[in-house]
Amino acid sequence: MDEQDQAMPAAPLSPLPLEALYNACDPEELPFSSTDELEPLGEHLGQDRAVEALEFGLDMPHDGFNVFVLGSPGVGKTELINRLLPTESARARGEVSDWCYVNNFEAPDQPLALRLPRGMGCRLRQDMAHAVEELLAILPATFQSDEYQARVQELAEEYQAREKDAFQALADKAQKQEIALIQTPSGYSLAPMKNGEIIAPQEFEALPEEKRQQTMQLIESLKEELKVALRQLPGWKKESRERFRELNREFSQLAIDPVMQELKKAYSEFPEVLSYLEAVHVDVTEEAESFTQTREESAIPENLKDRVREFPQYGVNVLVDNSELPAAPVIYEDSPGFANLIGRVEHIAQMGTLVTDFNLIKPGALHRANGGYLILDADQVLMNPYAWLTLKRTLKAGEIRIQSLEQIFSVVSTVQLQPEPMPLEVKVILTGDRYLYHLLQHYDPQFSSLFKVAADMSEEVERSPASTLLFSRLIRTLQQREGLLPLDRSGVARTIEHAARHLEDSEKLSLHRGRLGNLLAESDFRARREGADCISSHHISAAIEAANHRLDQFREKSHEGILREIMLVQTQGMAVGQVNGLAVYLLGDYSFGKPTRISATARLGRGKVLDIEREVDLGGKIHSKAVMIISSLLANRYARNQPLPLSASLAFEQSYGGVEGDSASVAELLALVSAIADIPLRQDLAVTGSLNQHGQVQAIGGVNEKIEGFFDICEARGLDGNHGVVIPAANRVHLMLREDVREAVAAGLFQIYSVSDIDQALELFTGLGRDVVDQRVLTRVSELQDLARQFSKGKGDDE
């Protein structure tokens, strides 16, 4: 305040007029009688900035331009995304494909990923199943054919004859020398003969020594030849088996080749599939015998279909089938756990062991969204262990690598797969509140490189005739979507007023669709219960009151404590060093105001204002800052050129929780000045407002609840026309007071004052002008300075 102002007598401060307390919406000004007459809102009311950012993010093709949609829960983030990204016409980010996993015949623990045009995945699966079915029918017949059996017989006979010839020749040679070649159960033996019969031992002993020696030598010689012949047998066995295999291969190919050639021809345009089919061809040929295990019931075609399951190695695991998609995939994953994001490999128990194969690979949201868009709740991603790390790693790598946590931490010893990673082309849209976004920006260095686009949703819109009408159409949209009764114009007007009240700004409207939807739904319920055919203002009011009432018990108990004078709050008379401050309690969506006594004491000291709350760690940092500002303001105002020889103490009486914020600064200064200068303050007034070092009063939050909190106490004790609340002038635009408060004001029983500087507040509370107050403070300061000097002198004399 400059000198000229100080010279002018201050005009008495008037309470705010009734119309300043509430920005009503006049139903008559609404150009419709019912919301049924309105077109649903096709645009995004108040979200131009977010829409622009989101459109940019969705269109931007470069890496890292993923989007984070910021906004409080219920503001309509998902709805906005859905509107800009319709599932039926979302533009593809790359080629939208079907993705399959197939067996890797060379390394079965590393299944191969196949990319196919949309709809071809299922076709390949069917074709493979059909091919296996065909082979199950053809191969047994092939191996049972006369031609094959004859060739097998021929082969066996060839070796039978070869062996027979070899041993027959030896047997003949031996026989000529009167030695018998005898087959034993496990080999051959040689024995001397006489007259075609095996010689008896006695007869052999009776032979001349020379003859015996000769016979024995002969047997030894034949044994060597026998061994030579026998040594050929394993070679012949091996050879016969090889020829038999070759024969089987030849016949297998006769059956398999046409089937596989047909498949290869069908997929000739797809080199990866062709390469896979080549591998299948080789494997089927090698394993042809397994197809020949026919069963009695195999003659029935349906049973053959069932038998296809016995050959899982030739299956095609269609991980992503986009055949039915009209556009690019838009996936909203509401449970973005680690496995739900990148997929998982399941196991089945077999004989007490967990086993798996490529058919047990399950897709994750990233697989399903590949080529399109993935929408995730940021807090859900962050709350799920390793989901955030995995999402970042996957986006950075540009490929989906399916791994299990067990695999990552090496905590299990079961069979694990390492499926071939799939290339990833996806736009991720995270939704979350601003706090989360800024936390990630601050603490996660990778976040800003992966989520370069922030779509910041507006929580409010300027209140104007145009926006009011758009808001009405928004109501219409919600009404239509939720199947609610229409609102008449009074209902719309009341809803608009509540939207402003909720935002604590008479000049703005809350865009919080969640709360708006809840209010409309409850109002609809009440209207229907009444049998009304539309929702009117009293339904809306009843819904608001009921919603408040459901959470109102704490406020009632709190106010009850004041009214029973358990909590000391004086609402009449004058008192020195105490003032009624106003606190607001936030309980989730519900908040209420409550008066609280703030007291101060002052004494000789060294110019320090003691914040008792701070001293006992009940005061927050902002409150401490506010007290320091007050201290500075006092010193600047009353002791600019000399020390301020006083110590003061401030306390929130009967406050047992923490105190935070600076909205009690005005009240604290009033209490301090009152305590210093011994000036009584009005107790029928309550005050709220923050201060700067120059004594200007600044805006605070929760102004409506604070006023209503003091009003409730005063009304309960009886309004006498002097009660009122002092608020910062800057908070006038925020006033959307309850109807009963407005009625009391209209009746002259309650007043709302707005002040822009501390002098106005002092005048209201003391009834004294600034000069008088300052003079009394300065006098007291002067007294304290004298006391201080005396004290110092006395102390010096003592020394």
């Binding site: 049972q144 066996a156 039978q160 080999g187 026919t294």
Partner: protein
């Protein structure tokens, strides 16, 4: 179940052993033909004689090892093989409710079992060592894929046809190959016809000893049904030798 009085099929059991598959086929045949089984435990006389010599050794198929063929060693091995065969046959007979008894006939040669009294059919197991198992199910396929029948070589042709018909009707046979000396009478043709069963007929088959010897030795069939009379003209020594090396299982119908 067959009873003690039922005619029997005789199976010579010697130290060379019989595969379980062969025994299974035999028991199924016996059940279908409503016959009991008689296991005749034989020695291999020549082998015994050779083992009696103090210096005789055996060169084994596996590893070409030379080992002693002393009588005691041979006896142990023979007992083990015979016991195994006996156990298997007992189990299969019980399972299929086929009457079974055993007799010991040391010193008897293979051909001599044909000369036993009674209406005994004789089953000679295959001695073929070269056997290539074609891919495909063993269970679903008939026990006898190819049945060979020699008809018209003696007065007991009707018995052979009867035996074949029983096996064919019981779906034990996939295909039958009839080797007939002359034309096949229509009633025999009708008896061997069965839905789903393939019948092939070759007329003009020879019934002389050399042809039958060759047939037994080179038999391409899984089971060859022969009338007893067809073997009468074959010298006993030859008969022993060819039965010892038969290419397929042979059922001599008496």
């Amino acid at each position: 179940m067959t009873n003690n009085d039922s005619p029997r099929i005789l199976i010579p059991i010697d130290p060379h052993g019989i595969s379980r598959e062969t025994l299974e086929t035999l028991v199924r045949i016996a059940r279908q033909m409503n016959r009991g089984l008689l296991g005749l435990l034989l020695d291999d006389i020549r082998l015994q004689q050779a083992a009696a010599l103090p210096f005789t050794t055996e060169i084994t198929f596996s590893g070409t090892r030379e080992r002693s063929l002393l009588r005691d060693h041979l006896s142990q091995r023979t007992s083990r093989v015979t016991l195994d065969t006996r156990h298997t046959l007992l189990g299969l007979a019980e399972l299929n409710r086929v009457d079974l008894k055993f007799e010991e006939a040391p010193g008897l040669r293979l051909h001599t079992v044909l000369e036993r009294d009674g209406h005994l059919d004789v089953f000679f197991p295959s001695r073929r060592r070269w056997h290539l198992l074609a891919p495909g199910p063993a269970r679903g396929r008939a026990a006898i894929r190819r049945l060979g029948l020699l008809l018209g070589c003696g007065p007991d042709t009707a018995r052979v046809v009867d035996a074949a018909r029983l096996l064919i009707d019981a779906d034990l046979v996939d295909e039958s190959y009839v080797l007939a000396e002359g034309n096949l009478p229509p009633e025999q043709l009708a008896a061997l016809s069965h839905p789903g069963h393939r019948l092939r007929i070759q007329c003009g088959a020879r019934c002389d000893a050399a042809a039958i010897t060759g047939l037994i030795q080179q038999s391409p069939y899984d089971l060859l049904l022969l009338p007893r009379s067809a073997l009468q003209q074959i010298p006993t020594e030859t008969l022993d030798a060819i039965l010892d090396k038969s290419g397929s299982q042979v059922l001599v119908v008496n």
